[in-house]
Assembly symmetry: C2
Homo-oligomer: 199 residues x 2
């Protein structure tokens, strides 16, 4: 967004969030660029001013927005994992988020429409995973500092484990509508973080 005026940034943000809402409600196959223009009251010239790459670039921006929502929907817990109660609240927020989301993952839907393997789509996923794992790692390290998680636990590996568990649980939830795997996965992973000999 370097070089955009405040007004330009607001216009761009209006286009992206409007496109994201359309894609969420109408589905990606039923949404055209013209629908986005109508919904966001934007001219074709404006849209291509902010997204010279057209559809692909707009979809990438929507993917970035949806990726940011994956994380913001886990707040305020994700940024404050400093007690077992906070970890439990985070676990509950994650389960509630994906139960609410149901069978259709907006980020997944957008990503299937962006040419896979393009640097842009890869970067969105890498950035999401990295930020998510970074926050969880910070949480594990905070628990280690507080003496609640054993010092020999590899905090980065634990963060990877938690993200993988969420992914697998959400995959089952999306396929079956049942959150049992997600819940059980998170519960077992959190049990694994508790120190041996903690009773």
């Amino acid at each position: 967004m370097v070089g955009l005026s405040a007004k330009g940034a607001a216009t761009r943000e209006r286009i992206v969030s409007g496109a994201a809402e359309l894609l969420r409600t109408e589905g990606i196959v039923h949404t055209t660029l013209d629908d986005v223009l109508a919904r966001t009251r934007t001219s074709k010239g404006q849209l291509f001013h902010y997204f010279p790459g057209g559809r692909e670039e707009l979809l990438l921006a929507v993917a970035e927005l949806e990726a940011a929502r994956v994380l913001s929907d886990q707040e305020p817990h994700l940024s404050d994992l400093t007690s077992w109660a906070a970890w439990q609240d985070w676990r509950d927020a994650v389960v509630a988020r994906y139960v609410r989301q149901g069978p259709d993952c907006p980020l997944h839907a957008v990503m299937t429409q962006v040419a896979t393997g393009t640097p842009g789509s890869h970067a969105v996923v890498v950035a999401l995973m990295s930020a998510w794992e970074g926050a969880l790692r910070t949480g594990v390290e905070a628990m280690q500092a507080a003496g609640e998680v054993a010092p020999e636990v590899d905090a980065a590996a634990a963060a990877r484990a938690l993200v993988a568990t969420v992914q697998g649980g959400v995959q089952v939830l999306m396929a079956t509508g049942d959150a049992g795997h997600l819940e059980a996965g998170l519960d077992l992973a959190l049990a694994g973080l508790r120190p041996r000999g903690s009773g």
Copy 2:
């Protein structure tokens, strides 16, 4: 297979395993029914005798075969999870299997070609998950009987958690080529099974 003679069952099995090998090596988009006939030295009449539903029914049979392989590749460990060493061997076998498999999951590839939501495709997935979770649950219960896992652990939930963790880790492995999430996920889940106070 009710009603098939031994010879008929062998022919059917030859067609299914030949089709599976073709799909694994050539990829699903490049494989036609004619390729399967040539590879398995089968006439069109024979093929439709064993698979009256044609391509779709043959693909479902291949999906069943690949689902069975998901489980058999975890043997002999999966059926003998009676010590922590056995669980560790199982964990290593799962990681090795999916590292070997790499970015292309044959079961996933076949399933994307079978009309999703058909009773047949749904049944293949449900049967796989059920058998997989059943074996893991039996393993957790064996460890409980041996006093190695706390009696209050919900063995069925632990089995669901392990399957979800494998799914999520494999999803990352398929996308990135990195087994770190799968390994970390399994390690943390197994740590969660160890009893509190076991030192």
